[in-house]
Amino acid sequence: MLLFIIVAYLLFPISNSIIQLLLLGALVGGFYALIATGLSLIFGVLKVINVAHGALCILAAYFCYWVWIFGADLILSMFFTMVLMLILGLALYLTIYRKAMKVGIDPSLFVSFGLSIALEALMSLLWGADIRGVQSSYIKLLNLGGISIPFMLLLDMTLATAVLCALYLFLKKTLVGKAIRACAQDWEAISLMGINVKFIQSVAFILAFAMIGISGSLLAATYAFDPFSGSIYLIRSLIVATLAGDKLIYLTFGGIMLGCGEVFVSYFFGGAYRNAATSFLFIMILLIRGLRSSR
């Protein structure tokens, strides 16, 4: 944080650009936070690191793309994608993830890893390796007092905020939401109190897939993607989830920090290094985490 401020101060002369960068970073970061919630929910409740998260987001992006191609509006496509992902989530849960929970955290990682490989191969088989994107009328550049912002990003952030707020309220206020939070903390205690843990887990899982559905559709509209784009989003989600943990607010802040970090790296070192920087940032975070926690 301090480094941030120092750097910002030193660069004061180009402060307009700095504000632009920060704003961009915040917008992008909010989006990353939204993507990360899917991953965080599954890990929190099922104790499974869903390495297929990135590939699933891309799958959602493809669903959105195909619905949109057939003439639907973006928002409508998002809705359909969410529904499709919910169904898919239920199917995957019943077949694969339920068993994956039993084998333990580390082996379950491989199960989701196998899923991600299978998904990416399937997508490139079915839909080819071309880069796709959803062109919508929402794509334009806004100019607010000298700062230009892609409108799509603003839309992303607004939707992300709305969804995150809705999710927050759900988790805080409703009975099921509270049960999910309790499960994430200590599922054994919960089961002793008579709550059907399996049901809660399936609800959380499907909820996570709904989040993936929304994130994926937004992704389709904001960025270009191909079957193998998932890995970067996976790493970003992992960064946010590892940094931030389980509380939604932390996730949002984590996402924004990541977004700002990426944007700054792009600006100063060139966009090509963005992905490399993200990957190594993740490794640094893991190392710091590893050093902090006991053996």
């Binding site: 690191i49 890893f113 191969a121 290094y273 990957s279 893991l286 190392l287 590893g290």
Partner: protein, 301 residues
């Protein structure tokens, strides 16, 4: 009993060594690929069998080895020197990455996984190494036979090393106690051993990558740092049984043959089936083939 085993091993080796004289072409390629993955799977198993933690990042050493060799060769120098240099640089890279590979459990898995992408991104940006477009390499005379024998030598080396490690004092201590903390208490310096084994495995990956570069006409970050090189050896090790001596070998053979058969059936579908196979495998056989067979044999008695 030991005599019979030895005889079988010698026979197999003789067969492998003299095979190129008998036939060339696709079978050579198939054997070459199998031996390559045997090298990788056994080298990976060295580390994970000993530590019990799964690294998904060994492919970066392969990629580094490939690229250094390619770079040396591209610039006109002796490619075999390039292979050796590739192995050496791979060790250097491994040394810098030691902190990462000391992570444990899921952290190790996802950390090393992102190493692949990180390395990929770096090499995409290295113009001297051809960037995203890659390098076109000259053709080596009798490349398939030369690399076949080189890889075979590597396989012998890696198997001998593993054998020696397992049967060394340290290997015995770690296996008998199957708990590194206990091993440390009785005085085994696990850090030194684990680091040494790790560097050795990185060396093998680098050398193998270098040898493979001799066999290809084109190298790019997307081929050299493909997660295949990280993940297939892991899968083979898990399939065969992590921590066993023959496990990775069996895993490598089964997987290579299966992948080749699958790729003959339909293009692109092999990776999909591979993913599905991985899922089914982990869910049904978490320990691997060899331990399962062992249990079965024990039951027979």
């Amino acid at each position: 009993m030991a005599g019979k085993k030895l005889a079988i091993i010698i026979l197999i080796n003789l067969f492998i060594a003299t095979f190129p004289v008998l036939s060339t072409g696709y079978i050579i390629y198939l054997l070459y690929r199998t031996i390559t993955f045997i090298v990788l799977a056994v080298a990976w198993n060295m580390v994970s069998g000993m530590t019990g933690h799964v690294s998904l990042g060994h492919g970066v050493f392969w990629g580094v080895g490939s690229y250094i060799t390619a770079f040396i060769w591209f610039n006109g120098l002796n490619p075999f020197f390039g292979v050796l240099l590739g192995g050496f640089i791979a060790i250097m890279v491994a040394i810098t990455l030691i902190p990462v590979f000391r992570l444990k459990g899921a952290y190790l898995a996802i950390g090393t996984l992102s190493l692949n992408f990180g390395m990929l991104s770096i090499y995409v940006n290295l113009k001297e190494f051809g960037g995203a477009g890659g390098l076109h390499l000259p053709i080596l005379q009798h490349a398939d036979i030369v690399t076949y024998y080189l890889m075979y030598i590597l396989a012998l080396c890696v198997l001998t090393s593993t054998f020696k490690i397992v049967h060394s004092r340290y290997g015995f201590a770690i296996k008998a106690l199957s708990d590194e903390e206990a091993a440390e208490i009785i005085g085994v310096d696990t850090f030194k051993i684990k680091t040494g084994v790790f560097l050795l495995s990185a060396l093998f990956f680098g050398l193998a990558g270098g040898v493979n570069a001799l066999n290809t006409v084109f190298i790019s970050p997307y081929t050299a740092f493909d997660i295949t090189w990280s993940v297939y050896p892991v899968f083979m090790g898990i399939l065969g049984g992590v921590g066993t001596l023959f496990g990775p070998i069996i895993g490598a053979i089964i997987m290579t043959l299966t992948t080749e058969i699958l790729s003959l059936m339909a293009t692109g579908i092999d990776r999909f089936l591979y993913g599905v196979m991985l899922i089914i495998l982990i869910l049904c056989l978490p320990e691997g083939v060899v331990p399962r067979i062992r249990k079965y044999l024990l039951k027979q008695k």
